[in-house]
């Protein structure tokens, strides 16, 4: 805390961001909360239904709960690909003596491709007729029996729409983790190597514990982005079978013009994210304390 600070200075620094954020984010959220107690199609008069929308969500809507389950699976897949991939590549990079810069850049590239293009690209990859890349590959390696229309098969569609999202942003997390690895003093690692520590131990005992604060940041980022994930599942499956809570909410609002019910769902998403973040911090903190 600064010794020479006045109330005024705090306000001067705090008010502009708070105001901007309040108008751009908080106000619409509160308005949505308000809407969630109504039934409204956008043009007729609003009807107050109390907790009716929430009752419907929790008790009567099987589609919602299916979407919720899908969202959880979607999140897991994204996390494994983004964070797992990021850790793996960052670790591999640490062992290279040449070409790190080029590889980092290339690994990050998918992040700059627009979602629309990614959507179509993966349609091509998953397609069955005409034979897409994935099915072609399976045939080549003799696993032709596994070939299937990945986006139409109800068993695979969810995984199929999760993978591209995981794939495209892995580079971003890799950069963050790699940067954290780089900040570990070379002396510590080299001393450990001299002690005969193998790569795995180096990772588990030194690198990973060292970057824990960064790791928490990336986990929070990845989890919340995954829970809010929308574009690619929406574009790839038209939000049909691999329907997530977000795509279901969007359709309820903008295809079915049921703004009240959609608002109730987004309130749910906010609560869900709060719980998730609380859990992450709780778990990570306990580990640190141990």
């Amino acid at each position: 805390m600064l010794p020479y600070r006045s109330k005024k200075s705090v306000l001067i620094f705090l008010l502009p961001p708070l105001l901007f954020y309040g108008l751009g984010v908080l106000m619409p959220v509160i308005q949505s909360l308000f809407l969630s107690f109504f039934e409204w199609d956008g043009i007729s008069d609003m009807q107050f239904v109390g907790l009716g929308n929430y009752a419907k969500m929790f008790a009567g809507d099987a589609v919602f709960w299916q979407a919720f389950g899908n969202s959880m699976i979607y999140m897991m897949i994204c996390l494994v690909l983004q964070l797992g991939g990021a850790l793996l590549v960052a670790t591999l990079l640490m062992q290279l003596t040449r070409g790190r810069e080029v590889i980092k850049t290339l690994y990050l590239l998918p992040a700059v491709i627009s979602t629309v293009a990614i959507g179509f690209l993966f349609q091509r990859i998953y397609s069955m007729d005409p034979v897409g890349l994935l099915n072609r590959l399976l045939q080549v390696v003799g696993l032709g029996d596994l070939a299937r229309p990945w986006l139409s098969d109800t068993h695979t569609v969810l995984a199929a729409v999760s993978v591209p999202e995981g794939w495209r942003f892995s580079g971003l997390y890799m950069l963050i983790i790699y940067a954290a690895f780089m900040s570990i003093l070379a002396e510590i690692e080299e001393a450990a190597k001299l002690d005969g520590v193998n790569e795995w131990q180096l990772f588990a005992k030194i690198r990973f514990p060292y970057i824990r604060p960064v790791w928490i940041t990336t986990v929070v980022m990845a989890v919340t982005y995954a829970l809010r994930g929308f574009d690619i599942p929406y574009l790839l499956s038209n939000g049909r079978h691999g329907q997530l809570v977000t795509t279901y909410m969007y359709r309820t609002a903008f295809t079915n013009t049921n703004y009240g019910y959609a608002s109730a769902m987004s309130v749910f998403i906010v609560v869900e994210c709060l719980v998730a973040v609380g859990l992450i911090f709780g778990l990570m903190k306990r580990k640190v304390d141990e």
Binding site: F34, D129, L151, S237
Partner: protein, 447 residues
């Protein structure tokens, strides 16, 4: 509930610090006040539409608006187009909720549109066209497609399409099958084509509406549009005889492999390509695809093999061969807010000029009279399909996606894919959908 709404709006605007009190409070007319008094003062007007940027409608209307602007300095027609339909609908609905729809906007004859009309937001187009002396120029089928259930008309059609089954003669011959005479012939035909290693029917499953068309075929042949008109209100059920037959037929189409594997994730262009590259035997699409299918741009090996048939009938059905899906496209509604002498004058001018300009682009007009000028490289097929528009019967099949309330419609589209893929049984499908429609249908169509 008025007060609730007032309260809601005031809360919604709570932080609107600079309330635009100056709001250009444009005057609003009554829906049937189609010829408002006053002077024609040229100003800018906007048309929110969902049509391809370089398509015939926009090209024609741009030209007409430019001509009109020559005599009316200060006039401009702004086109705000969102060709992608789901994005468009989202935009339309948010604008409607904010009460910010422009002078002209595109909309299908959906329950949502009916609500807007009931609210007095749309000009009575039937009265308007009659007042302009244009009403009788329009094809009955083109206007009927735009009408609400009570027969009222609030949208102006800009197209006239027929939806037929294009087929590849060589492929059918290879499999030793004829074109189907009745709907019940189709599953068998598919099985035979499959045996010969040919994709029977190419399906754009991604856009949902093409598959939903098939769902509409059987009931339409059996009982015209009556069934869907009742079904959507919950007065008829899928578990009724007509419904069950239709669902069973859809399931049969799926089990006999009528559509290419993975059809539900095939997009429009890919589905079309399956047909134009000679891999699929049948392609159910509208006359809007004629520039691709009926011109010499198409690869000769396929071009010479293409023919078409109309929606097959059923034994003892209620509709005849020349009654099928003949849509006039998404319609244009005229906002009562902002409808002034200028808007009327421009619309009168534009709708008078439109058939001549539009017909010249190789498309069929929603009006009779001005014919279609075929492209110079059109094949014989082009002309024959265009001629079908003049033979369309009295009743045209209503696509279900413009009939059902949107919640039921979304669910139906999802469940249909599952039904055809064999992921749900006929009974499960009927149970689910009857439940969904019972919950949402009556509410949406309540008077």
């Amino acid at each position: 509930m008025r007060t609730m709404k007032t309260l809601a709006v005031s809360v919604l605007a709570a932080a609107a610090l600079v309330l635009s009190g100056c709001g250009t409070s444009t005057s609003s007319v009554k829906p049937d006040d189609v010829n408002p008094e006053g002077e024609i003062k040229p100003h800018e007007i906007s048309w929110l539409l969902s049509r391809p940027v370089d398509g015939g409608v926009i090209t024609a209307m741009k030209q007409i608006a430019a001509d009109y602007a020559k005599d009316h300095e200060g006039f401009e027609l702004k086109f705000i187009t969102t060709p992608d339909r789901p994005s468009y609908i989202q935009k339309l609905e948010t604008l409607a909720a904010a009460n910010k729809l422009p002078e002209l906007f595109d909309i299908d004859a959906t329950p949502f549109a009916a609500k807007l009309a009931k609210k007095g937001s749309m000009v009575d187009v039937e009265a308007m066209l009659k007042d302009m002396g244009l009403y009788d120029d329009y094809r009955t089928s083109a206007l009927d497609y735009q009408r609400f259930d009570d027969g009222s008309l609030y949208m102006v059609p800009f197209e006239s399409q027929v939806e037929v089954f294009f087929y590849n003669k060589a492929l059918l011959a290879k499999a030793g099958v004829d074109i189907p005479k009745t709907l019940d012939d189709i599953p068998q035909m598919c099985a035979a084509l499959n045996k010969a290693g040919i994709t029977p029917i190419t399906m754009d499953g991604q856009d949902m509406w093409p598959l939903e068309r098939f769902m509409a075929y059987y009931p339409f042949r059996e009982s015209g549009n009556d069934y869907i008109k009742k079904l959507k209100k919950g007065e008829a059920k899928l578990s009724d005889e007509t419904g069950r037959k239709a669902v069973q037929w859809m399931a049969d189409l799926g089990s006999s492999g009528c559509f290419q594997e993975g059809f539900s994730s095939t997009g429009y262009a890919d589905a079309q390509a399956l047909f134009t590259s000679g891999k699929a035997a049948i392609y159910n699409t509208g006359s809007w695809d004629l520039p691709t299918l009926g011109t010499e741009d198409l690869d000769a090996s396929v071009r010479d093999q293409i023919d078409y048939f109309l929606l097959p009938v059923t034994d003892g059905g209620a509709t005849t061969q020349n009654e099928y899906v003949a849509p006039s496209g998404i319609g244009m509604a005229v906002n009562t807010k902002g409808y002034d002498p200028l808007v009327r004058d421009f619309l009168k001018y534009a709708l008078e000029q439109y058939p001549k300009v539009y017909g010249a682009t190789g498309q069929v007009n929603p009006t009779t009279g001005d014919g279609t000028t075929l492209p110079s490289n059109a094949t014989d097929l082009y002309q024959r399909v265009v001629d079908e528009s003049d033979n369309v019967g009295d009743v045209t099949a209503m696509p279900w996606d413009t009939q059902l309330d949107s919640t039921s419609n979304t669910r139906l589209q999802q469940e249909l894919v599952l039904l055809v893929q064999g992921d749900v049984s006929v009974d499960e499908f009927i149970d689910t959908m009857d439940g969904v429609i019972a919950e949402n249908g009556p509410k949406a169509f309540a008077e």
